[in-house]
């Protein structure tokens, strides 16, 4: 029979499982994945001993079918559960399928690993749920989608970010990091399904001397240019950020207004995977490396990094969760030295390039949208005494809220959080939020573009919570992500006591501009921040 199962109840069984997947080699990423599954409470594994995997079939077709050594194209798939399946698997076929689906609905299906018949690179692909959080913090896979598997007549689901181990015979970390990003777009947004072989092929059109320095071409790595070509071929609009090399100090440095942790967090918080380019981090490491950031771990304490006092939600982050094709899934990459739960040998200081595979129709970067939002807030705070006086009779409790907000701004206690979302999704979230009805009415009727940048503002104390549901927002700005420097990107801004809405002035032809309209909010109050997946 092609299906087997085992209880995972002691060290010996876990070691046997490891040897079953990698009998003669110590594979770092496999060890990390098994450790993570054990931490998540895995108690049973079901193995499909003969599984034809679309990804490996593509690699087999492109390479392994052409070499003299005979290779099989049959893979194995391992499914992990945090329940003992002995009673379930002894039942009638109908009961097995029904019970497994019930287990999946209760989130007791932890994920799967597809094992290639390639000894040096066994992990074809794997998807698992969020890793366990260290104490007093919260780890969240922000770049996530649902993956369905079919086994024993049941459909099982796991939510996570896909992982692949590089098969160094035919590809490198560059292809793996692109694959991990693009497979997310396939499962979450209906993007194209692409294999590692396709990525190498797309990256090498046109070819160049770097690609041709290894056989098969591209197996020793890709340049950033090659990676951008592959991402374009996969239907993305990649944007690149980079540190500057300082000749005097012989080190890379990021501009003050563009610290990499703030850039990464804005995009992963938008559900967009970020491909991180890393310098060789130790003297004995000679090659540059690429990993994919898919989540973050946040604490309750702000660690200010901006000299101008414009704090961001990234300043609460302790680690980014990265999928590293050589090391494992959702590994904690530290943002500061001395953090006790780091899982990577590199840290944020080794980050020199960021590739953001944006969807098309996003024409302003996150940092520009956030700067616009801060600009409006600056003006609001400057004008607050005049606003307060002019509308005093109608503001009610909003006056005190405005006083407190302006005081927090003066004391550099305001924190911003910027993310990309669909216009319709913003509207949906605001209508379901706990904000005032005036804000909901504006959100209900506003004409919004497909993509908007939303910047939520709170204070250091209102953001100082590990649980996102407890965080409170006091103001927010919505910018048209399809805009540019040539147009008015502002759509909606809320600050205590007021909401502004820019709407297209259809009567002023031919170059119609947006006109701003303002509404007063009596007895304004704080509301919930966006929590991914809710």
């Amino acid at each position: 029979m092609d299906i087997r199962w085992a209880r995972l109840d002691d060290d010996a069984t876990w070691e046997n499982l490891r040897k079953e997947i990698a009998p003669r080699r110590d594979i770092e990423s496999l060890n990390a994945i098994l450790t993570q599954l054990r931490e998540l409470g895995a108690k049973s594994v079901v193995i499909e001993a003969r599984y034809y995997d679309r990804d490996f079939s593509a690699e087999f077709s492109a390479f392994y079918s052409k070499v003299f050594t005979p290779y099989s194209k049959s893979c194995r798939r391992f499914h992990f559960f945090n329940v003992d399946l002995s009673a379930v698997l002894a039942g009638a076929p109908t009961q097995i399928a029904a019970k497994l689906e019930e287990i999946s609905e209760h989130h007791d299906y932890l994920g799967f690993i597809v094992v290639r018949p390639i000894e040096h690179a066994p992990i074809g692909r794997a998807v698992m749920g969020a890793p366990k959080s260290p104490p007093d913090s919260h780890s969240d896979i922000l770049v996530r989608s649902r993956f369905d598997t079919h086994v024993l007549g049941a459909t099982l689901s796991v939510v996570g970010a896909p992982f692949t181990q590089q098969d160094s015979r035919i590809a490198a970390c560059a292809q793996a990091s692109i694959w991990m990003a693009c497979r997310h777009f396939f499962s979450r947004h209906g993007g194209p399904w692409i294999s590692t072989a396709y990525i190498t092929d797309a990256a090498s059109k046109p070819t160049d001397h770097v690609l041709s320095s290894a056989l098969p071409a591209g197996s020793a790595g890709l340049t950033v240019d090659n990676m951008l070509r592959a991402l374009r071929a996969a239907g993305r609009e990649p944007l690149i950020y980079g540190a500057q090399f300082d000749q005097a100090s012989q080190h890379f440095a990021w501009p003050a207004a563009m610290q990499p942790h703030t850039v990464i967090d804005r995009y992963i918080d938008s559900g967009i995977p970020v491909i991180i380019g890393l310098l060789p981090w130790q003297p004995n490491v000679t090659i540059w490396h690429a990993v994919t950031a898919v989540g973050h771990n946040v604490g309750a304490k702000l660690h200010p990094t901006s000299p101008s006092g414009t704090h961001t939600r990234a300043d609460f982050c302790q680690y980014f969760l990265v999928n590293d094709d050589q090391r494992g899934i959702g590994l904690r990459m530290p943002l500061r030295p001395g953090l006790p739960h780091e899982q990577t040998p590199y840290s944020i200081k080794d980050v020199v390039y960021l590739i953001i595979p944006l969807p098309s129709k996003v024409y302003i970067p996150a940092e520009s949208a956030e700067r616009l939002a801060w600009d409006f807030l600056d003006r609001y705070c400057t004008e607050w005494p005049a606003l307060r006086q002019a509308y005093q009779s109608k503001l009610g409790a909003s006056a005190m809220m405005g006083d407190d907000f302006v005081q927090a701004k003066t004391g550099k206690k305001i924190v911003a959080r910027t993310y990309l979302t669909y216009g319709w999704r913003y509207r949906q979230r605001m209508i379901k939020n706990t904000c005032s009805d005036t804000i909901k009415e504006v959100a209900l009727k506003a004409h919004l573009p497909r993509y908007v940048w939303v910047t939520e503002f709170g204070t250091e104390s209102s953001f100082s919570h590990v649980d996102g549901d407890a965080i409170r927002v006091l103001a927010h700005a919505v910018s048209d992500a399809t805009s540019s420097n040539f147009e008015e990107a502002r759509c909606i801004v809320h600050a205590p006591g007021f909401i502004w809405h820019w709407r297209h002035d259809g009567n002023a032809q031919p170059y119609a501009r947006s006109v701003d309209v303002m509404y007063l909010i009596s007895d304004d109050h704080a509301y919930k921040m966006k929590v991914r997946g809710k």
């Binding site: 790595g221 990676m227 490396h289 616009l372 009415e441 009727k445 502004w500 309209v517 303002m518």
Partner: protein, 60 residues
Amino acid sequence: MPRETFGEALKRPPQEEITAKDSTKPGLGWKVSDEARREIEEIEANIRAAAQRSGSVVLG
């Protein structure tokens, strides 16, 4: 002859709008500051510069 509009407007509770017609009221017509425009241009210039520098770096 003007065509009759199909359907009726969505009726919502009235909200007191303050528009540019109320020119004496503060809070309207706030333009993006020159400083913000300059900083946005710097952000985007840095992105362009990164792209120029990055081409031949091999990630492997």
